[in-house]
């Protein structure tokens, strides 16, 4: 069968948008269970529009209440760094100026960058970014609303196990990234250090202290003679 890149990039983009958008339902339900209003939940999906950061805001506020506001902002901000690196790549690909630069910025997320990066020519790379970005934005916001609406009806989070759903959601976000020894060691150390800090630091802070410590230690370890096995994983 002859390849038809144009239609294939469209179907890939829309498919990714729908698949990712669907789990906006879980974000919506969790955010409302955490104590955010439906409006606040929806504005997060419209303005923040970055799954990991949004789950972080909901997760930290669920655990810490109003004391979690500053840690929630810091966690979301740190998790958003990678979007900046996608933007660096996409700037060269898209060649956008003026207002389109702002629109492209907002649509710069894991999925739009990934679909764009996996295309074989420049035209499809552009198209993949825009269609995926718009599709994810539309479906993510639609399903956020549905999830928030259902979550508001559901009542106390513990009864329905929504707190466990939050833990499972973070596991699902980290899972595809655990592809190398180095990543696995970083993940394990981050979990251990963070839990060790839970009893002694204000709520929400252990995550933003524990995670950088884990990354720092592994970067020191891999340059030690005994840490060489951690190096091979740099590409993953």
């Amino acid at each position: 069968m002859p390849k038809t890149p144009r239609s294939s990039v469209v179907s890939t983009s829309v498919g990714v948008g729908l698949a990712v958008g669907l789990y906006g339902t879980s974000f919506g339900a969790l955010a409302v269970a955490a104590g955010l209003s439906i409006a606040q939940t929806q504005v997060l999906s419209l303005l923040m529009f970055s799954g990991g950061s949004q789950f972080a805001v909901a997760g930290v506020i669920a655990a810490s209440g109003p004391a979690g506001i500053v840690p929630a902002i810091l966690s979301a901000w740190l998790l958003g760094i990678r979007n900046g690196f996608y933007a660096l790549r996409l700037n060269g690909v898209l060649g956008v100026t003026g207002i389109l630069k702002l629109v492209a910025s907002q649509l710069t997320i894991d999925e739009s960058n990934a679909v764009s990066a996996s295309q074989e020519n420049a035209q499809d790379s552009k198209r993949g970014f825009w269609i995926t970005g718009i599709a994810v934005f539309v479906f993510w916001n639609l399903f956020t609303f549905i999830g928030a609406f259902l979550g508001a009806k559901a009542g106390k989070p513990e009864v329905w196990g929504l707190d466990a759903a939050a833990a499972a959601a973070f596991l699902g976000l980290v899972w595809p990234r655990l592809k190398s020894l180095q990543s696995n060691v970083i993940a394990l150390l981050a979990a251990v250090f963070t839990l060790a800090l839970v009893p002694v630091l204000p709520s929400g802070i252990p995550v933003i202290v524990g995670a950088p410590i884990a990354v720092g230690l592994v970067y020191i370890a891999k340059n030690m003679p005994w840490g060489a096995r951690l190096k091979e994983a740099d590409n993953a």
């Binding site: 879980s26 606040q40 504005v43 805001v57 979301a76 660096l88 060269g92 596991l171 995550v207």
Partner: protein, 105 residues
Amino acid sequence: MPSYWIAVLVGSLAVFSWKFLGYLIPARIANHREVVILAGKLTVALLAALTAVETFASKHAVILDSRLAAVLVAALMFWRKVPFIVVVAVAALVAGLLRHFLGWA
């Protein structure tokens, strides 16, 4: 509840700042491989830390309860490549059932 608007709006602006910054930096300065990898590793660390806190932390204590059972089931399902939204729903169901029928915390 209004105070959460600060987290929503300032947080959104903070996340957007990274996205926009990337479009302002000239490409020749941007291609530092080591920094790109570092950002990826920080993401792994933060998500793992959040998973740990959501699974084990209760206020200032580290405890074992139904959430751990739910997360272990979720891990098994992610390993078997079950779609994200199904896993999250099943995890909620597992914890809910353990609490309701077995009286777990």
